[in-house]
């Protein structure tokens, strides 16, 4: 399996065993928030920017 890389800084990303599609994770190198778009194959993208109406 190809190791996924951060789309921002190209660091290798370790995907947790219990990861889910559409889960948010952080790049351990640059801290960028990423979204797991697909688990098979593993595809990462930048998480969407926080919008004004986001919250609880």
């Amino acid at each position: 399996m190809t190791t996924p890389h951060c789309p921002e800084c190209d660091a290798e990303i370790s995907i947790p065993a219990n990861a889910m599609e559409n889960e948010l994770i952080s790049c351990p190198d640059c801290g960028t928030e990423l979204e797991i778009i697909s688990l098979n194959p593993i595809t990462l993208d930048l998480a969407p920017e926080v919008e004004e109406d986001w919250g609880e």
Binding site: M20, E21, N22, E23, L24, E35, A47, D53, E56
Partner: protein, 292 residues
């Protein structure tokens, strides 16, 4: 039985909720709010993005981080008779601080003194009427964004001018509250149905104590007084699964600050010892007649 969870993306809370459903032998359908494409007229027979007709869902749990998407989805689903957690009526009140204040006032629930004005001069007068310091808040918004403690008239003028010039019309509603000199913490209480299942103190050297802003969580005992106040507050907005922010004033009186309808709880099970996602899931299943 079919359960849907409406999400923007999966955060720690959604993962915990999914696990709690799985522990009850239920695999919920994950529905992304970005995939929603409702025929507003057609009704509940149309397919959800999951490929299942909306009418097949026994309950849909709304966990969108996007307030607007979540609210409109709830409005549509409830209009079609589909059970949701929370219901639109409750969520729409909680999403609006002014409507929350009105609901609490109608129910006689204690809260900080609050005024609202729509014009810069009237806003200055409203703040002056309350006295300095006061707190200006957007009527919508979360995570402590754009809250301003206004210590004097110079800063009030500056903030109002900025909001008037840079903000959209939402920021031209001036919702202002008395500043409560709380003891370096506030209380976040978790109400599930008719119970306050647990509460945390959120402690911070900053006057904004949200855990999203660095507030530290520790257990807060649920006293009969706190439970009674929170249940009254929850009932005032229609009830459901709610996170209620409570302030302690200098005299120790408890005041309701805000009520949140898609609560975050990732930092709260450990200090309280309460399995919040399991409590939430059990309540959700109870509402559709499935008991543990």
């Amino acid at each position: 039985m079919r359960i849907g969870i409406l999400i923007t993306h999966i955060r720690a809370e959604e993962k915990l909720l999914i696990s709690a459903f799985q522990a009850r032998g239920i695999e919920p359908d994950i529905i992304l709010d970005r995939d929603l494409n409702f025929d507003v007229i057609a009704g509940s027979g149309q397919l959800a993005p999951s490929g299942v007709a909306w009418s097949e869902y026994d309950v849909v749990m709304e966990r969108s981080v996007s307030t607007s998407r979540g609210l409109y989805a709830l409005a549509l689903l409830n209009s079609w008779g589909i059970a949701t957690i929370n219901r639109y009526d409750t969520a729409s009140i909680c999403a609006d601080k002014l409507r929350t204040t009105i609901a609490l006032a109608q129910a006689g629930v204690p809260q900080p003194s609050t005024r609202v004005a729509f014009d810069p001069d009237s806003a200055m007068k409203a703040i002056g009427d309350l006295g300095y310091p006061a707190v200006l808040k957007p009527v919508t918004g979360s995570w402590g964004r754009l809250l301003a403690r206004v210590n004097d008239s110079d800063s009030a003028e500056a903030i109002i001018e900025h909001r008037q010039t840079l903000g959209d019309y939402n920021h031209h509603t001036y919702y202002v509250q008395s500043y409560i000199n709380k003891p370096g913490r506030d209380i976040r209480a978790f109400v599930v149905g008719d119970r306050t299942i647990c509460a945390i103190y959120r402690t911070s050297p900053h006057w904004i104590t949200n855990t999203a802003r660095g507030g530290q969580a520790s257990n807060c005992p649920v006293t009969p007084e706190l439970n009674d106040l929170c249940i009254r507050a929850a009932q005032a907005v229609g009830g459901g699964i709610l996170a209620i922010d409570v302030l302690e004033d200098a005299d120790g009186q408890l005041l309701i600050n805000e009520i949140n309808h898609t609560m975050e709880f990732r930092n709260s099970s450990a200090p309280t010892g309460v399995d919040i996602p399991t409590e939430v899931v059990n309540h959700a299943l109870n509402t559709i007649g499935v008991t543990a």
